[in-house]
């Protein structure tokens, strides 16, 4: 085996390796059936806080394993939609149905704040993500694997207070991933990070999504981020889904490519027009 590798032509190596990784990914997806995404169907979902009608009838179907980005102006109800899907709020009317019976650890949320326990070491913070499996014998091993996945294996014994903002958010990602969720909702998880950290975190999100095949919902203010990561971008306006863009671009996507920029422009234009309409009122 080693011999064979040594005699391979140099330029053939990267191609082979990426192919091999792709195969391994396929295998992993296949063997860990439980880690595959769930599809979900939302029918006429409504949510009011007192007189404030935030969501006014959302109809949406998300196929299993899709990566959906949700954009919209501040206060339009994006977080509310995610919280409803995660079961943190009760809908005023309408329904959210998953394709299968969900257990608590199948749906996870990641917030803009990492929400780590300051008094628990990094590894214990990740173990929190196991939910009811915390007490099981392999809890620590699973937490360590999740930490490796986000590239923080060497920080397992640190206190969260000594980590950088991006590292904290990666610990939060490991905590969300450790239970192998089938639906993962992100509420502006990268909103507080600087531009460079953001880009590397986006690549990490894309990688774990491809590895694990969960259904991903990403709320973001950054339209460029939405089109770079998602297969589909939803625009929420007036409590409804106003626009549904498909992003049929091959991965890995090149940031700043003409197609991405064009799509970003279209979506931004839509968002801006929406805000002008309301400010005219």
């Amino acid at each position: 085996m080693q011999q064979a590798l040594r005699f391979q032509p140099v330029d053939a190596d990267p191609v082979d390796r990426s192919e091999f990784i792709e195969q391994a990914r396929q295998l992993r997806r296949g063997s860990e059936g439980a880690a595959r995404g769930l599809s979900l169907t939302i029918r006429d979902l409504r949510k009011s806080f007192g007189d404030n009608e935030v969501l006014r009838g959302i109809d949406l179907h998300i196929p299993a394993g899709q990566f959906v980005a949700i954009v919209g102006r501040s206060g339009c109800g994006k977080s509310t939609l995610l919280r409803l899907i995660a079961g943190l709020e009760k809908a005023t009317a309408g329904s959210i149905a998953f394709s299968e019976e969900v257990r608590a650890q199948d749906v996870r949320v990641m917030f803009q704040e990492p929400r780590l326990l300051p008094w628990a070491r990094v590894l214990s913070n990740v173990e929190v993500g196991l939910g009811r499996d915390r007490a099981s014998a392999d809890a620590q091993a699973r937490a360590e694997r999740a930490l490796l996945e986000v590239g923080l294996g060497d920080k397992r014994g640190q206190w969260p207070s000594v980590l950088s903002g991006g590292q904290k958010q990666r610990v939060a990602l490991a905590r969300a991933l450790v239970s192998r969720p089938r639906v993962l909702a992100f509420d502006e998880p990268l909103g507080a990070l600087d531009a460079l950290t953001r880009i590397s975190m986006q690549q990490m999100l894309e990688r774990v999504w491809r590895d694990q095949g969960f259904t991903a919902m990403l709320v973001t203010h950054d339209v460029a981020e939405a089109v770079a990561l998602a297969e589909r971008v939803l625009v929420i306006e007036d409590g409804r889904i106003a626009e549904d863009f498909a992003v049929d671009l091959p991965r890995p996507r090149r940031r700043g490519s003409a197609e991405l920029a064009a799509l970003e422009g279209t979506i931004l234009k839509h968002l801006l027009e929406g805000s002008e309409e309301t400010s005219d009122l």
């Binding site: 929400r115 300051p118 929190v128 969260p160 207070s161």
Partner: protein, 268 residues
Amino acid sequence: MSLIDSVSRVTAPKLPRVDGLIPWIVPLAIILIWQLACVTGFVPSRVLPAPTDVALAGWKLLLSGELIKNIWVSFWRASIGFLIGGSIGFAFGLANGLSKLSSQLTDTTLQMVRNIPHLALIPLVILWFGIDESAKLFLVALGVFFPIYLNTLHGIRTVDPQLIEMGRIYGMTDGELFRRVIFPGALPSIFVGLRFALGIMWLTLIVAETIAASSGLGYMAMQAREFMLIDVVVLSILIYALLGKLADSASRALERLTLSWHPAFQKQ
């Protein structure tokens, strides 16, 4: 790199020792000046005996066993009173921080009682208990109760609600949520209460022992006053200061141990 290394290697073992000594410079200087003032006759020994005289008086009392006995009695009263008052205060703090019903039921009453200085109850307490042990324990417990209660309550109420929500999302039971989120979050505030309570504990005990006791440090000081043994009076006061410092150091050490996660305790 190597320069920095060698510099820190040379200074590192020295610095902590110097740092540890700095807080003692002022007390030592005061004692020195005090001794000089007494020896030169600037301060008459009827007003303030020299530190050496105080030390001598302490040595004599130590040999007779009286000093140890009195310190032990005071220490015992302080700890038992603290344990009783502290645990009741902690229990009420927990209950009212965690349960709305409990808080509605008792918080207003407790806040009203809090405004009575507990030392104002001394005449009443003497009438109730005489100069029995229970009188002192009652007063110490009452004095300690409020700082512990208030700070435990405050600590629990100010735990980050986002962390509590996170705990619920990740399926923590009520017990786990308390153990892993609420209690550790409230701990810094509980320690503030603990330190306040320790101060109040000594204060209450001194006053109570001075007024109504037949043993203990405060009693020793009062007896000495009757016989004009001013060196013993000063000795008692110094021992109080020392015990107070000791209690404070103990609580600080405990704090360092349990709050090592807190940025304020991560010096290196």
